[in-house]
């Protein structure tokens, strides 16, 4: 796909002048030796390999580990821009939690006719086991990632909500570490807001949601553990990283068992109860007695303990009902319903192919649209009209006609660009942004910045790591 000529570059204005956010950085950059900058890039790669910051790619050679490509040019956001984003994100996250509470209790929003009943009850992400239950602390989504795209100076839109188990925060942290190691002078000269306290805040936030029976260990603090599917999971590095940074145990299903009405881990001294489980295992695998019976990644019986209020599961089971692509198109109405305010962050216009008029429009305009599966993620199973051949579009149209309910469509957005360091110097590439949000009874915290994903191929709009995207350090400037 060729760049839309109108697409917004975050560093350079149309007349070639440097935007305010980048002015200090640009001055610094132009004083650097280009050869040295490139060598620093290689240093960074060696550093990532040595520290084992890798992810596994499914479907490739078993156990193959890849680096997530890292680009050294930071993505910079001004204090003013960030303030606005924070307000919009907080509002959205409050609405997500209120929606989840409502869906699993009285379902007022359905009664009010704002969200169709069938979209909930027939949705695989809806868990009837959660009906009528209030999670400890009253929080459903403890950790949320809101994917944002930018199309203009003041135009940020939500592309996707991640309310299940958003990943990528370890890259946010390691990217910053790498940048500080490579360019310490930049951080002396510029006032960049820190991100490093994320693990501590995460630990506090999780502990604040502990069940009332917590605090049984010697120092009276709740016992927090991170549940990973294991070393072959694509995000294993992140699971280990977060557990390590929080000083929590990193557990697998085989370490856990229900003992005396609690979920407990097998330690060298015997079984010890866990108060808060930050699980990085999907709902379906969490409890073979309640969900997928063949799962060996979860804990048999954990849902009974959970319903009895003896453990906190973060995020709560069943939160997927809030970030499903089919629900996404209703988010403006959801935000308004629960907050009584107009949404501060816009949605990307979305056609629901389940509706006849929309389907007709989408079929007529496939060549210009992006079509996504309702329950898909990671950039798999989607059609990007402008980059697809006639044959691909015809084939996709057939799939669409056969199961219209399974798809939504969106216009192809002119995503903003940020420069990367290419062979010939700075070159613009499309980006998105995933800020990380923590929710506890004490409030909502948003780490300034987040994970900027960048499409490394010229003109490409797909930033997913599974599709050849990379990452950047994201700077929010202090006031």
């Amino acid at each position: 796909m060729t760049d839309a000529p109108s697409c917004f570059d975050e560093m350079l204005a149309a007349d070639g002048s440097v935007r305010a956010a980048y002015s200090d950085y640009s001055d610094w950059y132009h004083r650097q030796d280009p050869g040295l900058m490139r060598r620093k890039g290689q240093e960074a790669e060696t550093f990532f390999r040595k520290t084992g910051i890798t992810f596994n790619v499914y479907g490739d050679d078993a156990g193959e580990e890849r680096l997530l490509p890292f680009d050294m040019i930071p993505r910079i956001i001004t204090a003013g821009e960030w303030r606005k984003l924070v307000k919009g994100i907080e509002q959205r996250v409050r609405a997500l939690n209120a929606f989840l509470h409502d869906i699993y209790h009285r379902q007022e929003i359905i009664r009010a006719g704002r969200v169709p009943e069938s979209l909930i009850s027939k949705n695989a992400a809806f868990l009837p086991q959660m009906m009528g239950m209030i999670p400890p602390g009253g929080v459903y989504t403890h950790i949320v990632g809101i994917d944002l795209v930018r199309t203009g100076p003041d135009e940020f839109m939500v592309l996707e909500d991640n309310a299940r188990t958003p990943s990528g925060v370890s890259y946010m942290l390691e990217n910053r570490e790498t940048m500080m190691a490579m360019f310490p002078e930049l951080f002396t000269a510029m006032d960049v807001r820190p991100v490093q306290d994320y693990p501590r805040r995460l630990a506090e936030s999780l502990a604040a949601c502990a069940p009332s029976c917590a605090g049984g260990n010697s120092d009276g603090r709740p016992v927090v553990a991170v549940l990973t599917p294991g070393i072959y999971n694509s995000a294993y590095f992140e699971h280990a990283f977060l557990a390590d940074q929080m000083g929590a145990e990193l557990v697998e299903g085989s370490d856990l068992r229900v003992v005396d009405g609690r979920v407990a881990m097998r330690t060298t001294r015997g079984f010890e109860p866990i108060d808060v489980l930050y699980r990085r295992v999907d709902d379906d695998y969490l409890d073979p007695l309640s969900f997928n019976p063949s799962s060996r990644l979860g804990v048999p019986g954990i849902m009974d303990i959970y319903r009895a209020g003896k453990i906190t599961i973060a995020n709560a089971p069943g939160t997927g009902i809030a970030d499903d692509n089919a629900i996404y198109s209703f988010m403006p109405a959801i935000v308004e319903f629960y907050t009584g305010e107009k949404p501060l962050l816009a949605n990307v216009p979305t056609w629901r192919c389940s509706e006849a008029d929309s389907l007709a429009y989408v079929l007529d305009n496939l060549a210009e649209l992006v079509v996504k599966e309702v329950h898909g993620s990671g950039g798999y199973g989607m059609l990007i009209g402008p980059t697809s051949s006639k044959k691909e579009i015809t084939a996709f149209a057939a799939k669409l006609r056969a199961r219209p309910d399974n798809y939504i469509a969106q216009p192809t957005l002119a995503l903003s660009t940020v420069p990367i360091l290419a062979k010939a110097g700075l070159a613009p590439r499309h980006v998105d942004l995933r800020p990380f949000v923590l929710v506890s009874p004490d409030g909502i915290q948003i780490t300034p910045g987040g994970l900027t994903r960048v499409a490394l191929k010229q003109g490409s709009l797909v930033v997913n790591s599974s599709q050849g995207g990379g990452t950047k350090d994201t700077w929010v400037l202090a006031d």
């Binding site: 390999r49 040595k50 520290t51 084992g52 294991g230 070393i231 294993y236 280990a240 990283f241 557990a243 390590d244 929590a248 145990e249 990193l250 557990v251 697998e252 085989s254 370490d255 068992r257 881990m265 097998r266 330690t267 060298t268 001294r269 015997g270």
Partner: protein, 314 residues
């Protein structure tokens, strides 16, 4: 600490130790083979394979015992589950699974070892490169041990790593002795030919003990002295007694942290008291081979008791 984590740290220690010992063993075999004719050098390589206990597996895939076949089998053959490559991969997988129990330095040392040794063993190792490859393996294992020693909290994690290391080391030294014990027997040693001197030296060399032994014994080589050195010397870091001492102190540290002993302590006391009552004379009288066999069996019992007591498995 999770039982699975204790298990992982324990095996990380064992795998690294075994990789290092295998490389020493190859080095000793290689040196010896250089001083021999083709037939006796094949015998030498056969005994190297038998020391690591993979004769059956080796003979499934190889008809002869040439040096290049043996060292490639021991270093990198996918048909050899105990190859150095498999050990390094095992150590790294274990380290990755217990990442949170290790310091960054230790993890990076293990990860780097896996990268550079994997690279060095990606293709068959030629004779001209063998020395370098073996040195690299030893150096990387020492790097990890150094990182453990210099950066890890003296808690259970550290103890389980050390216990794995010394269980494995004791087993390895005992196996070397067991395959070569006949050259240390007085009746044969009587021959005193140059060839036997080379054999004894080879035993010492495979545990990096030749310089220490010469220094302690002012250069004179005698089989009884070598046996005593490898079995009973408490100063030499690869002797059986030294390994037992370290097991004892690490188990004692666990008992201190846990507030009680486990069955492993009892089993270990049995082995230790046997050692304290033995002199090299009584060992030779009762039979060197038998003594070593008994040690290997008891050492394994200690490992099993630890696995059980500290809930390594579900």
């Amino acid at each position: 600490m999770l039982g699975r984590t204790a298990n992982g740290v324990f095996w990380m220690g064992r795998y690294l130790e075994r990789a290092e010992n295998t490389s020493r063993l190859i080095e000793a075999g290689f040196r010896m083979a250089l001083t021999r004719d083709l037939v006796t050098s094949q015998e030498e390589w056969r005994s190297v394979v038998s020391t690591v206990g993979h004769t059956k597996q080796y003979e499934l895939y190889n008809a002869t015992y040439t040096g290049v076949q043996v060292w490639n089998f021991l270093l990198r053959d996918r048909n050899n589950p105990g190859s150095v490559l498999a050990m390094i991969e095992g150590a790294r997988t274990a380290a990755r699974a217990v990442r949170t129990a290790l310091t960054r330095e230790v993890w990076e040392a293990v990860n780097e070892s896996w990268m550079v040794i994997g690279e060095a063993l990606a293709r068959p190792v030629r004779e001209a490169a063998l020395g370098q490859v073996l040195a690299l393996i030893r150096r990387q294992a020492m790097l990890v041990r150094g990182a453990v020693d210099g950066s890890m909290l003296r808690s259970e994690n550290f103890n389980f790593f050390r216990i794995g290391t010394f269980i494995e080391r004791g087993d390895n030294t005992a196996r070397i002795l067991d395959v070569k014990y006949y050259v240390l027997l007085p009746s044969l040693a009587w021959v005193g030919s140059r060839l036997d001197n080379v054999q004894w030296e080879s035993v010492l060399r495979s545990v990096s003990g030749e310089r220490a032994y010469r220094w302690l014994n002012a250069g004179s080589i005698d089989p009884r002295g070598i046996a005593e050195f490898l079995l009973l010397d408490q100063r030499f870091p690869r002797s059986l007694n030294f390994c037992l001492d370290n097991l004892r102190s690490n188990l004692a540290s666990l008992a201190h942290q846990y507030g009680h002993e486990s069955s492993a302590h009892e089993v270990l006391r049995g082995v230790s008291s046997r050692f304290h009552q033995s002199s090299i004379e009584t060992i030779f009288e009762a039979g060197l081979h038998q003594f070593i066999q008994e040690f290997i069996a008891r050492n394994r019992q200690v490992a099993q008791a630890i696995e059980h007591d500290y809930r390594f498995y579900a």
